[in-house]
């Protein structure tokens, strides 16, 4: 290296970025990410490893002491009705069947499904609410287990979104933007903080099918995609059928022992090639193949819950024994959390009750109620709830009026973006608290609105990240999860 190598601004581009030196783009920007995705000496035992040691000072994240080390996001795809679950509106019973005048809607856009519906009649909830716990949280009879842990959660009744249809709304919730192309929440977190486990990905996704099958809206790879951040940060799906992680299992006839022998040959050739060519990328390749092998070892034990004591299944419910159910995924979420996975994203499908809500909503609640509550209790008894942020909710709310003719046996509700309810618990969130209020019809937020960007800012805040500083430069612009928006909701912080 000659001392006068750096002379002009255009030479800045010649300098290696940290990422180039440490294995291109496979890393998050946090120190933990660098150390862990590169595996703290992952290949060291076999591969003359030369992982550079990273000083923690170059990591900008977390910006401040985090409350939560990880997130478990229990996404309820399709949009559960707040009127039947978490936002009790007694006036609806009084005015049940009344037609709402056009002026009521204040210009609110409606979906194509009910925009043309002339008679929009107020519809009450056929399910009862009760007050629970010391804090007296109002929760529906459909969620009896949640009611029992109500003092551990924070119900947020004033969430708002900009989107009114599923695809843009869920895309907005999961990526901060209604159109495709942005990194998902989990990818941002993985990018910012990396993984805490050398053998597992930092961002894991699990999907379960709702019992109200016909109401299942589609999901898209973009929801856990990496957008323009390096694709190493995309969510890795854990699946109940086939390989638990895509391509994890060796083919028939290749035992672990044989796989090791095959890999040993690959690695020996890689080593020789590195000695010949000298590209550090080859060393990264060696480490990543070792990590793949270790995942092969680690994941089957992780997803096999037969080692759980019977009382675990008493807690989560019998269905937790059936792989692929929401309950099984909740249990897996806890096991992943224990192993340091940074962002665990569940999707439970089937919440789009445009009709037949009286039949289908209880089925959906049966799918999720016990297991969601169990996850809270389980994390709590293991001392992990404080450091794990749990979020439960869908992509928007539902209308105060019934879709189509009002019939209490078969009613349903259309989409409503102006206010709806979710709950959060654990790492950094106030327990036993209800945040925000909606007006008496549940049409508008009356107090303390929580736009999606604010929710995202708050989630990042709990993880110790200033949402304005978690940026990625793409097409000349510093992009953020929260775009140019977002305020941390201080009032729900513990």
């Amino acid at each position: 290296m000659t001392p006068n190598a750096i002379t002009t601004a255009d030479d800045l581009s010649l300098m290696p970025t940290r990422r180039q030196l440490l294995g291109k783009a496979s890393t998050g920007i946090g120190s933990i990410a660098l150390a862990s995705i590169l595996n703290k000496g992952a290949g060291a035992t076999r591969a003359n490893d030369t992982t550079p040691s990273i000083s923690s000072s170059i990591s900008p994240f977390p910006n401040f002491a985090p409350k939560a080390k990880r997130v478990i996001y229990l996404f309820q795809s399709g949009a559960p009705s707040q009127y039947e679950l978490l936002d009790h509106k007694p006036i609806l019973a009084e005015q049940h069947g009344q037609s709402l005048p056009g002026s009521f809607f204040q210009g609110q856009r409606q979906t194509g499904m009910t925009a043309g519906q002339k008679n929009k009649q107020v519809c009450k909830s056929i399910f009862r609410f009760s007050r629970n716990g010391q804090a007296g949280a109002e929760i529906s009879e459909l969620l009896p287990h949640l009611a029992k842990v109500s003092d551990d959660i924070c119900i947020v009744r004033s969430v708002q979104t900009d989107a009114i249809n599923h695809d843009p709304a869920i895309t907005f919730f999961q990526t901060g933007f209604q159109q495709p192309g942005r990194p998902s929440l989990g990818a941002w977190v993985s990018y910012g903080l990396g993984s805490d486990n050398a053998n597992l990905p930092g961002f894991v996704v699990m999907i379960s099918q709702g019992s109200a099958k016909r109401d299942s809206q589609a999901l898209y790879a973009r929801l856990w995609g990496s957008g323009f951040v390096p694709s190493a940060h995309q969510g890795v799906k854990f699946r109940a059928n086939g390989d638990p992680v895509l391509y994890l299992n060796n083919p028939a006839g290749i035992s672990t022992k044989r796989r090791r022998k095959i890999l040993d040959l690959t690695q020996a050739l890689n080593q020789q090639h590195y000695r010949d060519v000298g590209d550090p990328e080859t060393l990264t390749r060696i480490r990543q193949a070792e990590l793949a092998y270790r995942m092969q070892m680690a994941v089957p034990g992780l997803v096999d819950t037969r080692d759980e004591p019977e009382h675990t299944f008493d807690l989560y419910g019998e269905s937790a024994k059936r792989p692929g159910t929401y309950a099984a995924n909740c249990l897996l979420a806890r096991r992943l959390a224990e192993r340091g996975v940074r962002f665990i994203q569940l999707y439970h499908r089937g919440w789009d009750q445009h009709g037949d809500l009286p039949r289908d909503l209880p089925l959906q609640c049966q799918d999720v109620d016990q297991a969601s509550a169990a996850l809270i209790s389980d994390l709590k008894q293991r001392g992990m709830l404080d450091e794990t942020l749990v979020i439960w909710g869908g992509e928007f709310g539902r209308t105060v009026y019934a879709q189509g003719n009002l019939n209490l046996k078969k009613y349903g509700r259309d989409h409503h973006p102006r206010c709806f309810s979710i709950w959060m618990a654990g790492g950094g969130i106030k327990a036993g608290h209800t945040h925000g209020k909606t007006d008496e019809y549940g049409f508008n937020v009356a107090e303390s609105p929580v736009p999606v960007h604010d929710l995202h800012a708050t989630i990042l805040h709990c993880l110790g990240i200033n949402h304005e500083q978690l940026t990625y430069k793409f097409q000349g612009r510093d992009y953020r999860l929260t775009d140019v928006h977002g305020h941390v909701i201080e009032n729900i912080l513990a």
Binding site: M1, I6, L21, S26, P201, N250, E468, Q475
Partner: protein, 979 residues
């Protein structure tokens, strides 16, 4: 500062040394830097604008609405303007320049940029700005907005390295750093590099050998010409273009159902293979429908701007998504052809570029006039908006390809039929010979020994091997095998056979064979008297085959499987050898697959395929103009539901001047301007993309952003030279590729030298050859090609090769279709034909950074992850390719294991292994072969991965061991990298 990153990965003592060097370097830099700044003149575009753009433009840039203090720093003129007794910049007078006062301010509250922006100027950057002001604060338009002028070549008389003009630019820059280029890459490395780059496929051994033995001066050039002429060139170039144009086989949003756009993909492949000039390529795709007397193919070409996603969700407002679609066209067109991030000015004036929100809507107006609904609904609607029904441009070629295969096959069939005595041996799958089938059991019952008795050839007649089976019975007796696993699977027109020898001294009355399939012993064939009373006469359960064979000699018995009710796909798990009286020897039983009928079958399917291609008249989405034209209204904040009264006419961003048209400007006017001399960007943006394909990084690294936030070119003069050369050549794409790959720069060895990791790890100066990982599609295509599985048919509808079960089912709408895997040839087509569902993109490509194709992608990330490693290990695609590759090696090289391993290595990497590599392979092979010898059933299991049949002649444990070695080789760094 930057040198902090120079710590090279290495053993700790090296790091220590490097640290010493680094410290020395830091010290020396501190000494030399100011002197350097003084002696070199500062260039506003290169040195100053990027700093201001990054740190200041957000608040002091082109966007008037968000401009603070009425100060703009994107214009040198504005910086010098009098702001009431003072100016931001006073040329030659840093002290009186407020800009410098503010960036140097001691109070954090006053200092720019403000703390809350998270931006901070380094002292080097402040020094640069100071020097620039000192030197007179000269400003220029942003470099990429100035039309390129062909620069003078810097000819160095002592230069013996350069092969063409490119090299002179590269060398000059290297010399500035006292660096020299690397030596030429080894021939086998070079041919693999250029073949992968130009066709996306590896060179064959024959091609490598031909190149190695060709000592003529033109050897390399001949290879390059051959590759540019290959029909696979068009496929390889189309791969990039599919990402750029967000091509997919589904609509994308919500239900994400299927669509038909593959005829447009065919057009792209065809256009590349025709070497259509790039300006024409661009004009036809943007406005082919508006060309006078537009041909059908020119209209199909406009599918470029119909590849966007389309909504299907019930509740959406169509206008919202129609606006999104038009915005998508603007963003895609601007990124691909102009290298500009125009989407930024949808909601506000651009923060960094001289493009206003009005400019945005002027551009938007070109694409806002398509008669489309922007919604395909819930059903299986393949298209929305304007369409055309037209045969694929590749139809004649496809037809020719298939017809050629038909002719070849017919020749083969006729040759086969003229050879009555052709050796049937290679086609037999022997099931019982000296031993009984895998994991079967055997018994004997009725009259005679109560077991399956093998007798040896010392004392008895034996037809094959060392033993035959023997039974002497009085009346009915038999021996049989049962519960075989794996079963004997029958193909089309299979014949079951067995050899039999009847003792002349004690012949039987009748012999019979029975097969166990589908849970029953109901498939029988007999010879001689009809004495055995099982099954029903003249049915598959008791079929008379003829009289008893002659005694005292071996006779082959053959039974066509369908005569005894066993169709293709039937699985036999038991086989009985039955006799009525006499002494009978049985030997070598199995199944005969008739190649003629296999060929016949292929022929039938090829003929059908030819008919299909000929009849195909697919309907594909295209651009068209609505009449009368839709008014484009300025949308407040870019929102579909906030139109203003302001009508915006189609036009160029003001920074590019005006379009001169008699009438309202349309897409064709835009396309012509793009390909015309007044456009400073398109030629640069295009050659930069071609450059990236060969070097892994563009001369401008940010392919999609040539604006002020984009990266400064590593070789600005070279970029301009190439752009001028390109235009003057008539936008000749193949020539440009040839120019690049013929350069000495391209042909360099890619080995890292002593200081590569500290001096230029990103290889931006190109002091060594380019080395980077192959793209997802090429990694798969390479494996298919090496293993001989590749079906290299060009064009046509998308195909659905292997993918893990249930992926669509996990996420699709309840009544939407599930993935259905194809079989046969479709499993082995090139990857650019793989069906692309946007909500569930091909998972094995995703592991290698393939995008979702929901939006234009010009640069894929290039990651290195465990997920990718798992694909190479376990994806059936790669396991099957490993097996077929192993078969290929075993069939091509006789017996000698070492030779075979070396051959395998050479097929995969294109070079001979070193001694050490050879040793590693041998050791692993011996180990793995022992493994499989000790566990033969594991070897058999491995053979079942993938649908391609295993060559029955090969010994299975050996094949399994070679399959494993091939699997190891297909996942090495070298294999998935072009060196």
């Amino acid at each position: 500062m930057h040198s902090l990153f120079i710590t090279k990965a290495g053993p700790s003592e090296v790091i220590t040394l490097d640290w010493v060097k680094t410290l020395l370097l830091l010290a020396s830099m501190m000494l030399v830097t100011p002197a350097l700044w003084c002696q070199s003149s500062v260039d506003f575009n290169r040195d100053i604008r990027p700093i201001l753009s990054e740190h200041c433009f957000r608040c002091h840039g082109p966007d008037a609405k968000s401009r603070e203090a009425d100060l703009r720093l994107d214009s040198v003129k504005a910086m010098k303007a009098d702001l009431g007794g003072y100016s931001a910049v006073v040329p030659g007078n840093p002290k009186n320049s407020i800009l410098l006062a503010r960036i140097n301010h001691t109070s954090p509250d006053e200092r720019m940029p403000p703390v809350e922006t998270g931006k901070k100027l380094t002292s080097d950057q402040i020094n640069l700005i100071t020097s620039w002001v000192q030197q007179g604060a000269e400003g220029k338009k942003h470099w990429s907005f100035i039309r390129p002028v062909r620069p003078e070549l810097a000819v160095d008389p002592s230069d013996r390295w350069s092969k063409n003009e490119i090299d002179q630019f590269i060398l000059a820059k290297l010399q500035q750093y006292q660096k020299s280029p690397s030596a030429q890459a080894a021939a086998q490395t070079l041919i693999r590099r250029v073949t992968l780059d130009l066709t996306g496929l590896p060179p064959s051994i024959d091609e490598i050998n031909a190149f190695l033995s060709d000592t003529s001066k033109d050897a390399y050039e001949n290879v390059v010409d051959r590759l540019l002429d290959s029909p696979h060139y068009g496929e390889r170039m189309a791969m990039q273009w599919l990402d750029a144009s967000r091509y997919a086989d589904t609509h994308g949003y919500s239900l994400d159902r299927r669509r038909v756009m593959w005829p447009w993909r065919d057009w792209v492949i065809w256009a590349y293979n025709q070497n259509m000039p790039f300006d024409q390529f661009m004009v036809e795709q943007l406005a082919g429908d508006l060309l006078p007397d537009a041909k059908k193919s020119q209209i199909v070409a406009t599918g470029f701007n119909r590849n966007h996603p389309i909504q299907s969700e019930g509740g959406v407002i169509n206008e919202e998504y129609r606006v999104e679609t038009v915005v998508d066209r603007v963003e895609t067109t601007a990124s691909v052809f102009l290298g500009l991030t125009m989407g930024c000015c949808r909601c506000h004036d651009h923060k960094y570029e001289p493009i206003s929100q009005t400019d945005f809507f002027g551009f938007y107006a070109f694409f806002n006039n398509v008669p489309e609904s922007a919604h395909v609904g819930n059903g299986d609607r393949l298209t929305d908006g304007p369409v055309i029904k037209a045969p694929s441009v590749l139809q004649p070629q496809q037809l020719q390809g298939v017809r050629q295969r038909i002719v070849e096959l017919e020749k083969k069939i006729s040759a086969e039929s003229r050879l009555p005595n052709r050796k049937p041996v290679p086609l037999e799958r022997v099931w019982i010979d000296d031993k009984i089938p895998e994991s079967s059991t055997s018994i004997g019952n009725g009259s005679g020994v109560q077991r399956f008795e093998f007798v040896s050839k010392n004392q008895h007649p034996v037809f094959s091997g060392k033993m035959s089976s023997l039974r002497t019975s009085v009346g009915l007796g038999q021996h049989l095998v049962q519960n075989a696993n794996p079963p004997l699977r029958l193909n089309q027109s299979a014949k079951l056979f067995c050899y039999v020898y009847l003792d002349p001294k004690n012949p039987p009355d009748e012999i019979m064979m029975q097969w166990f399939s589908g849970g029953k012993w109901e498939h029988r064939a007999y010879w001689g008297k009809n004495q055995i009373d099982w099954g029903a006469d003249k049915t598959a359960s008791r079929r008379l085959m003829g009289p008893l064979p002659n005694v005292g000699q071996w006779t082959r018995l053959e039974v066509a499987a369908d005569q005894i009710g066993l169709g293709p796909g039937s699985e036999i798990t038991g086989w009985a050898f039955t006799q009525f009286g006499g002494t009978v020897y049985w030997d070598k039983a199995g199944v005969l697959d008739l190649q003629t009928s296999q060929s016949q079958k292929t022929l039938t399917s090829l003929n059908k395929q030819a008919d299909r291609i000929q009849a195909a008249m697919p309907t594909v989405m295209v651009m068209a103009e609505k009449k009368p034209p839709r008014k484009t209204l300025f949308l407040d904040r870019g929102q579909y539901d906030s139109p203003t009264d302001l009508e915006v006419k189609p036009g160029l961003p003001a920074a590019f001047g005006e379009l001169k048209t008699d009438d309202r400007a349309n897409r064709l006017d835009l396309a012509k301007w793009l390909s015309g001399p007044r456009n400073p960007l398109t030629a640069r943006v295009t050659v930069n993309r071609l450059w990236k394909l060969h070097f892994g990084t563009g001369i401008v690294k940010t392919l999609e952003d040539f604006g002020s936030q984009g990266e400064w070119p590593s070789h600005p003069k070279l970029l301009d030279w190439l752009a001028c050369e390109f235009v003057e050549s008539g936008w000749d794409v193949k020539s440009m590729h040839k120019k690049i790959v013929m350069s000495a720069t391209y042909q360099q060895d890619s080995r890292w030298s002593g200081d590569s990791s500290s001096f230029d790890p990103g290889n931006r100066l190109l002091g060594r050859g380019p080395r980077f990982r192959l793209e997802a599609e090429i990694i798969r295509d390479q494996a298919l090609s090496l293993s001989g599985l590749l079906v290299d048919q060009i064009g046509g509808p998308s195909v659905r090769p292997y993918q893990p079960a249930g992926l669509w089912g996990d996420v699709v709408y309840e009544n939407a279709p599930r993935f259905q895997q194809d079989h046969g040839d479709s499993l082995y087509r090139r990857s650019l034909y793989t069906y692309w569902k946007r909500s569930v993109p091909p998972p094995n490509f995703q592991a290698f950074d393939a995008p979702t194709r929901e939006a234009c992608t010009l640069t894929r990330s290039m990651t290195n992850t465990p997920m990718a490693a798992l694909v190479l290990m376990n994806d059936p695609t790669f396991v099957e390719a490993s097996r077929k590759l192993a078969e290929r090696v075993l069939n091509e090289i006789d017996e000698n294991t070492q030779k075979r391993l070396n051959h395998l290595f050479r097929i995969v990497t294109g070079r001979e292994p070193s001694l050490a590599e050879s040793k590693s392979m041998t050791k692993a092979y011996v180990d793995l072969h022992n493994e499989f010898k000790n566990n033969r059933s594991a070897a058999l299991e491995l053979m079942k991965v993938g649908e391609a049949a295993t060559d029955p002649r090969l010994e299975v444990t050996e094949l399994a061991a070679f399959t494993s070695i091939a699997n190891a080789l297909l996942q090495t760094d070298e294999t998935i990298t072009r060196n």
